[in-house]
Amino acid sequence: MRSKFDQQLALLHRELITMGALCEKAIGLSAKALDEGDQKKAGEVFDYTVQIDQKERDIEALCMRLLLQQQPVAKDLRVISSALKMVTDMERIGDNSGDIAEIVTMGHITAEHDKMNIRDMALATIKMVTDSIDAFVKNDMELAKAVIAYDDVVDGYFNRIKTALIEALGDHNADGEYALDLLMIAKYFERMGDHATNIAQWVLFSILGRHEDDERSKETGR
């Protein structure tokens, strides 16, 4: 009985890794499509978002089955419940990648455009997503904490891009549609950073059995 449960848990782990890899692919591809203004690459992103959605449903079904049939307790329960939450965040990352790809397919953005710091922001976000999934795969608490801390960097990029866009619009030397698209893209990247942070938090939860926030608020006596 237990050995079957262990097998199913291993399967869950594998499925989550696969889904994480798909997310990495999706965000990497959408960033590349954006950088090169490549509509064909942007189209490929949608294939990945479809796959990610399917994976999410598969993993959810697997988790439900495990919860019902095995009635897990303690760490097993934590692992399964955090898996359930993690897939939601991963699925959102896939969706956001799809959203960026959609903006690229509109054709307003081309390779020649000056995209401000958006490439750096994309790289920072990709790093966050990769690291959060790495933290999950290796059960690495330090890496998970590093991901959570790195969210500030991505937020910083977003604020800078926003300020730069406001200035450009104020000086009337920017195409309004393009500026809004760029802002949306920056926002999507920022959202993906948040989702990566969530994944890292769920990794911590599955190891520790409590949220880091709780710990922090306890320490400060709030």
Partner: protein, 552 residues
């Protein structure tokens, strides 16, 4: 085992005890029965005598607690009974013992007395007057006797049981003790039961066999590890689920992991789509290949299923670095494209000029120039084709060419002679220094090395420049150096000039009739002689190329 022995001993002891007690009681019962009968007979005879003598008055003073005495008349009527009222008793003539007594002898029977409601033993004797005196004794007395013996018997039973329990437990423990103390690590050192020795010998031989096989396995594992550890290709062994069973050093480096990944799923090591595709074909037991870009280049991943008969027992993943292979493939492709291009350019000039001439468009005074141009381009093509042929021969290797003892100095002298006209035209002074230096080599190739180097030195020289060739004999090498006072090679081009068709300044090279293959031929020829090339060059100052050949 102790329990079993204990139980058996207990059971046997108790069984024996119960059986002997029963037997003893049965014999005793029988004996007492006999004694009782004899006594009854004797008493009957005595009573008969007494009654015959004294009549009924005998009964008056009789104290008979033990016996029941009945006097029965000849007609069967009960005349007297000491236990019940004789008047109420029925006729006894039909009783077995009475009939027997009347027949003449002592009558005996053992039956259930209706009168006294108990089992009784009867004995009767006829008196001379035809009446019968009968004595009976209750058999209960016998049982009472036995019952009386029960108490001591019970005590004996309890003592026997307790004793047998104690003895059985001690005995069984004694029997099992040597078995418990068997030293199975060294089976032959045990003393004790002879019956065990075949078993112990068997254990010993099996232990030796196991030890031997274990050593053999360890040895094989070590050999396997040693072989795989030193392979440059990465090897990962997987079980059917895709968990890592073994990984060699190269693979660890490639996938940036350490020994901790053993036992984990391969996806935790690398989650790229190629790996997950490979794993899904591993599950179905299919051979598969994928290309993957890792940190230090492009790798070909080959997955081979491992099958025992029809059963899939895992798979082996090989990672082979194909960066170099792909690079050389690309170079070959470029070479083909370059060759076609280089051949096409002069052909076009020739074809164009010939067409114009044939159409008669060219003026009489210009014809000379057209002829010259056709001739020049044709010569260039021949040179190019010759160079290509030479290169392809070098590619094939020097097996077909004969090696002999060559004086490099003499060769250089010949070559300089050959180039003297060209040098004069270019206003370049050529000098040769050094000494005769013999080495093992292929003369045609050595000549083409010197020729190409000197030709370049002349072509890319300045007006009134100089080329100095030097041949020197070292301890175990022959050194050829060609230095010029020419235009030099810019640093960024220096590591590429030995590539085929690579030119620093394309327009200038064509003007001078270069094919772009000269230095490539030099490189190959030097390599075939196991030599080394050193290039020193400064732009606008000059170039010195030194070739060192081992003497062999």
């Amino acid at each position: 085992m102790t329990k079993r022995i204990f139980r058996s001993i207990c059971l046997v002891a108790m069984g024996v005890f119960v059986a002997s007690a029963a037997l003893f009681l049965a014999v005793l019962y029988d004996y007492f029965g006999g004694v009782q009968r004899k006594q009854l007979q004797m008493q009957t005879k005595l009573a008969a005598q007494a009654v015959a003598n004294e009549g009924i008055s005998y009964f008056d003073g009789l104290d008979t607690a033990e016996y029941r005495i009945t006097w029965i008349g000849a007609d069967g009527e009960v005349l007297y009974d000491n236990r019940s009222d004789s008047g109420e008793m029925e006729n006894h003539l039909e009783r077995e013992e009475i009939r027997e007594a009347l027949a003449g002898d002592l009558g005996e029977s053992s039956r259930y007395s209706v009168t006294l409601m108990e089992r009784a033993l009867y004995c009767a004797k006829e008196l001379p007057d035809g009446s019968v005196i009968r004595l009976s004794v209750s058999q209960n007395t016998l049982l009472t006797l036995l019952w009386g013996m029960m108490q001591p018997i019970c005590v004996i039973v309890v003592i026997a049981v307790v004793l047998s329990l104690a003895l059985a437990s001690r005995l069984s423990r004694r029997i099992v003790k040597p078995l418990n103390e068997l030293d199975l690590e060294t089976p032959l050192s045990n003393e004790g039961y002879d019956e065990l020795s075949p078993l112990l010998h068997r254990i010993d031989s099996q232990q030796r066999q196991i030890r031997f096989q274990k050593e053999e396995l360890e040895q094989k594992q070590k050999e396997f590890d040693a072989v795989t550890e030193n392979m440059t290709e990465g090897i990962i062994l997987l079980n059917t689920k895709g968990n890592v069973l073994g990984i060699n050093r190269a693979a660890k480096q490639l996938f940036e992991t350490d020994g901790s990944c053993i036992g984990q799923h391969l996806l935790s090591v690398n989650r790229s789509t190629q790996i997950s595709d490979l794993l899904s074909s591993a599950e179905t037991g299919l051979h598969d290949e994928k290309m993957i870009d890792l940190s230090d280049g492009r790798y070909q991943l080959i997955l081979n299923p491992v099958k025992y008969g029809e059963i899939l027992s895992g798979s082996v993943l090989l990672a082979i670095n194909v960066t170099e292979k792909e690079k050389s493939e690309q170079m070959r492709r470029e070479f083909t494209a370059n060759v076609s291009h280089e051949l096409k350019t002069p052909l076009q000039t020739i074809a164009g000029s010939a067409e114009l001439l044939a159409a008669g468009i060219v003026k009489e005074e210009d014809r000379e120039e057209f002829y010259n141009r056709i001739q020049g381009e044709a010569r260039r093509m021949i040179r190019l084709v010759n160079d290509i042929i030479r290169l392809s021969r070098l590619d094939e290797g020097a097996d077909s060419m004969k090696r002999e003892k060559v004086d490099l100095f003499a060769l250089a002298e010949d070559t300089l002679q050959f180039l003297s006209v060209e040098a004069e035209n270019a206003h370049v002074v050529m000098t040769l220094d050094g000494e005769p230096a013999f080495m093992e080599g292929i003369p045609q190739l050595l000549q083409s090395i010197i020729l190409n180097l000197c030709d370049n030195a002349i072509k890319y020289n300045r007006d009134q420049g100089s080329v100095s060739v030097m041949v020197k004999k070292g301890t175990d090498e022959v050194i050829l150096s060609v230095s010029d006072t020419g235009i030099g090679i810019p640093e960024e081009h220096q590591n590429r000039i030995f590539e085929r068709f690579y030119r620093v300044d394309k327009s200038r090279s064509k003007e001078l009739g270069g094919t772009g293959l000269g230095l490539s031929i030099v490189k190959h020829a030097v390599r075939l002689h196991h030599g080394k090339i050193r290039l020193q060059s400064r732009e606008h100052v000059g170039t010195a190329i030194t070739v060192m050949f081992p003497v062999l």
